[in-house]
Symmetry: C2
Subunit: 143 residues, 2 copies
DNA sequence: GCTACAAATGAAAAGAATTATCATTTATAT
DNA sequence: ATATAAATGATAATTCTTTTCATTTGTAGC
C-alpha cells in the first residue's frame, strides 16, 4: 500500500507549504508511476501536462517531499560515493549523519532474506548495500 | 582485517593493469586511511606526495579498483538518486542491474541488528538503507 | 639493458547533475 | 478583494564526472 495523493497534499499543507499546480503535478506524476523516477525523468513526465514547469521546481518539490518522508529515495550507482579499502568478507556501514564517521561491521544477516527474494522474484542477486544512518555518541552529546 | 596494499597491487597486475607510481600512490592513500574518502578528498591527499597527479587519474584508478572489488564503495546522501512514492511502513529495494527494474519488499529484518549496533557503538540509529542488486528474470534470459 | 608498443597520464574541454539568484507571479489568510 | 510571503521559471553558477588527445611510461620480449 502506497501513500495516496490526497495524504501527500494534506501533509504538505499541514506543514505550511502552499499547494501549487506545479506541486500537484509532481505529486501526481510520482504517485501514478510504479517505478522509481530520476529528477530528469520526472521532469519529462510532468512536462507532458504542464509544459512550462522548470526543472528547478522539480528539484525543490522533491526536496520537500523527501524531507517530509512522503517520497522515498533510492540510491543506485552514480555520484554520491566515497571509498575505502575492501575488507575480505562482507561488511556494512554505520554512518554518523553529523560528523560523517563510518563504523564498519561485518556479518551475514541477509543470507536467508536473499534466498527468499531469489525464490519469490526470480532475481539472481549479486550483492547488496546495507547502511545504517544515525548519530555517534559524541555528536549526540554536542547536540 | 583489510586488504593489504600488496594484495591490491598483485591483483592489479594479475588482471593486466600496469603498476604506475600514480596507482601506487592512490592505493597507498586509500589503504592508509581509516576513513572513507571521496574522490576529491583522495585527490588532495595524494597530491601531498604526488603533486602532479590529475583528478582524472584518481577517477580512473577508483573505477578499476572498484570493478575488481579491491575497494569498497559507500553511498551517503548526494546525487545518485531517484524517487518513488513512500509506502507507510518500511520497505527495501531489489534493483535489476541491467534494466533498472525495482521491486519493493517490506519487512523488519533489521530490528535486532539495529539494537545490537546501538548497544555496541553508542550510536543513536535513525534509519537505514538496504538494497539488493541483481538481475531480473527477463534480463537473465536475454544474457 | 634496450626496444617496441599498448596502456596510462595530465591538462583541458565537455558533459551531466544540482543548486543559487532574482524578478515576476500566485496561493492563501485576512 | 487585498496584502504578503512563498513559489515559480529562466538563467547562471556550481559541482562532479567523463572524454579527448597529445605525450609519457611500464612491461614483455629480445
Amino acid at each position: 500500500m502506497r501513500l495516496s495523493e490526497k495524504k501527500i497534499t494534506t501533509a504538505l499543507k499541514r506543514h505550511g507549504y502552499k499547494l501549487t499546480p506545479q506541486r500537484r503535478a509532481v505529486i501526481g506524476a510520482i504517485a501514478s508511476s510504479p517505478d522509481h523516477l530520476t529528477p530528469a525523468a520526472l521532469y519529462q513526465k510532468v512536462r507532458q501536462d504542464h509544459p512550462t514547469i522548470g526543472l528547478a521546481t522539480i528539484y525543490r518539490t522533491l526536496e520537500i517531499l523527501a524531507k517530509l518522508e512522503l517520497i522515498c529515495e533510492l540510491h543506485a550507482g552514480g555520484s554520491c560515493r566515497s571509498y575505502t579499502i575492501a575488507a575480505p568478507g562482507h561488511h556494512h556501514h554505520l554512518i554518523c549523519a553529523d560528523c560523517g564517521e563510518v563504523i564498519d561491521f561485518s556479518g551475514h544477516y541477509l543470507t536467508e532474506l536473499e534466498e527468499r527474494l531469489c525464490r519469490e522474484t526470480g532475481f539472481e542477486i549479486e550483492g547488496h548495500l546495507l547502511e545504517f544512518i544515525g548519530r555517534c555518541q559524541s555528536c549526540q552529546q554536542n547536540a
